[in-house]
């Protein structure tokens, strides 16, 4: 009985694999919201294609590309030296496409009388060298700074450590939250909190600081003047030549003017186009 069930299930599966075209996308949680929008629109254009997206982190996505478990690996970081080594060892060749840019916004409570922060001040706060607000600006109250961060495995975290902390470690009292939303929620509630989030998550309830005097806006990220922004990638396996078929179609859509316009609606910055 059970055997028949399994056999039938397997048969269905192989039929699906043979006739429907499927597209598997795995990787960075940061890239995920854009990827979902594209998937929705792409599905509307080509109803025959089935798409599944898993947000599992940049490393997991690239790992899945090695194992052939995904067609596209989303990544919020460049490929690591260890991954390049493995690529050479396995005789594989991955090609990255920059699909969007993400600006990292520094947010504080709206009641806090501060508008600008320098990279050095950020470093001091997050490394624990500075623990009260008056040490940042003597007009601010002498109250404990409450720093928030993303979980230590997320791409946003990795970027922050590399570019703001220069590889140094966060102080133990920095609160690492599982979600950006929770960070925003806490900054809204807490007058003395500070956090870093993707620009797409900025709401009217929090204040996004200028960094080194530059506002976190689409124009400034595009112009390269905003100091904390990064490209978002989609990696594909090009060992046997550049992608064709449904993978190529998907990327073509993502990089089309229409696809790039969608990037802005989820709060990221378009990589191409004139807008």
């Amino acid at each position: 009985m059970k055997k028949t069930v399994i056999a039938i299930a397997l048969a269905t599966l192989s039929v699906v694999l043979a006739f429907g075209s499927t597209l598997v996308i795995k990787g960075s949680n940061t890239v995920y919201p854009v990827a979902q929008l594209w998937a929705e629109a792409f599905k509307a254009l080509k109803p025959g294609v089935e798409i599944s997206i898993e947000g599992a982190g940049s490393s997991t996505g690239i790992k899945a590309l090695f194992n052939g478990q995904t067609d596209i690996a989303n990544s919020s970081r460049w490929i690591k030296p260890s991954e390049i080594e493995q690529m050479n060892r396995d005789g594989k060749y991955f090609v990255p496409y920059i699909v969007a840019y993400d600006g990292i916004a520094i947010i504080v409570n709206r009641s806090l009388a501060i508008d600008n922060i320098t990279l050095q001040q950020l470093y001091d706060i997050y490394s624990g060298k500075v623990t009260t607000w008056n040490q940042i600006d003597s007009s601010l109250p002498r109250v404990r700074i409450v720093p928030f961060s993303r979980d230590n495995a997320s791409g946003t975290f990795e970027y922050f450590i590399e570019h703001v902390m220069k590889g140094d470690k966060l102080a133990p009292q920095v609160q690492q939250l599982a979600s950006t939303r929770a960070e925003v929620e806490q900054v809204v509630q807490n007058n003395y909190a500070i956090g870093y989030i993707g620009m797409g998550y900025i709401t009217g309830e929090v204040k996004a600081l200028t960094v080194e005097g530059v506002e976190p806006t689409v124009a400034n990220v595009n112009a390269g003047t905003y100091p904390v922004s990064r490209p978002l990638f989609m990696f594909v396996n090009a060992t046997n030549g550049l992608p064709t078929g449904v993978v190529a179609d998907f990327l073509r859509y993502a990089l089309s003017p229409e696809g790039q316009a969608a990037v802005l609606t989820v709060g990221y910055v378009n990589a191409y186009g004139t807008k």
Binding site: Q173, L177, N190
Partner: protein, 291 residues
């Protein structure tokens, strides 16, 4: 002949099904330990257990779980302080003072309470409890996500365990002891505290152990509201990062086969060891009570 064969194969089948449970337990130990011990290729067991520095994703990564362990202990401890007394009061009320009808209704609510999905409690704590704590204890609370918030939410999950098991323990005390005490002129309150509770001692201990085990293993609540800071807390309003939340928060994005991955499995082994010890103690207590 055919009946004999059926009889025999039935026996083999049920024995195998029963054995499967043990095989699964063995398998869980095997898979977690075999992945977990590989962390010791990079980190010494001493540093793993006794260093409070948990920096798993840096160039010079460190894998000390002491702060995480402290997080688990503080959250569990405070939860017990809240949930045990309240659980006792409710259990005594249910066992000795409540009428049949209200008893059933209350019991249902408590069962439902234990069934609230923890992810739901987590999002409630994140949005409402943290704000409430910030507004009402502004002098002590510097962040809304902390040991207290997690313990309040966990108490909701743990209390029903205490209520149910303590009530069972109280009901298991022979009725004649209670009646004898009342007949001798003792009042109900005295009877409960001098006769019933001491008599139900081992059952109550059992309840506390099983409830504690459940609290230690809870994941989504602490992931969402305990605060996520890898510090050893000094007050109940400090943020912490319990063992389970480190696994759940980091597993999703960790690279398979990395030291970090193995370290998370080793944390799983620590949790597994704690829960196994607690279960064995509870079983032993139950057996000795049975005799």
């Amino acid at each position: 002949m055919r009946r004999k064969r059926v009889e025999l194969s039935a026996k083999v089948l049920v024995t195998f099904a029963a054995l499967l449970t043990s095989i699964i337990v063995f398998g869980i130990f095997y898979f977690l330990i075999s992945d977990g011990v590989r962390v010791f290729g990079r980190v010494s067991p001493k540093d793993f257990l006794f260093s409070a520095r948990w920096y798993p994703t840096y160039e010079d990564a460190e894998f000390g779980i002491l702060a995480l362990l402290a997080g688990t202990l503080s959250v569990t401890g405070l939860t017990l302080v809240i949930a045990i007394p309240l659980g006792f009061v409710c259990a005594i009320f249910l066992a000795e003072f409540s009428g049949r009808k209200s008893h059933d209704a209350i019991k249902y609510i408590f069962e439902l309470m234990a069934g609230i999905p923890s992810v739901v409690l987590g999002s409630f704590g994140l949005k409402y409890v943290s704000r409430w704590l910030m507004e009402h204890f502004p002098l002590h609370v510097w962040t809304g996500l902390n040991v207290m918030n997690a313990s309040l939410m966990l108490s909701i999950l743990a209390m029903p365990y205490f209520v149910t098991l303590v009530e069972d323990a109280l009901r298991a005390v022979p009725r004649d002891q209670k009646e004898a005490s009342l007949a001798l002129g003792a009042n109900m309150t005295g009877t409960i505290f001098r006769i019933l509770l001491p008599q139900a001692r081992s059952g109550i201990l059992n309840a506390i152990i099983l409830g504690t085990n459940r609290v230690i293993g809870e994941t989504m609540v602490v992931l969402m509201v305990a605060g996520g800071a890898t510090m050893v807390p000094s007050t109940i309003f400090d943020p912490v990062r319990p063992l389970t939340s480190a696994i759940a928060g980091e597993m999703g994005e960790v690279e398979l086969g990395s030291t970090h991955y193995f370290a998370l499995f080793m944390i799983g082994v620590v949790l597994l060891a704690i829960s196994t010890v607690f279960t064995l103690i509870a079983m032993k207590l139950k057996r000795s009570k049975g005799k």
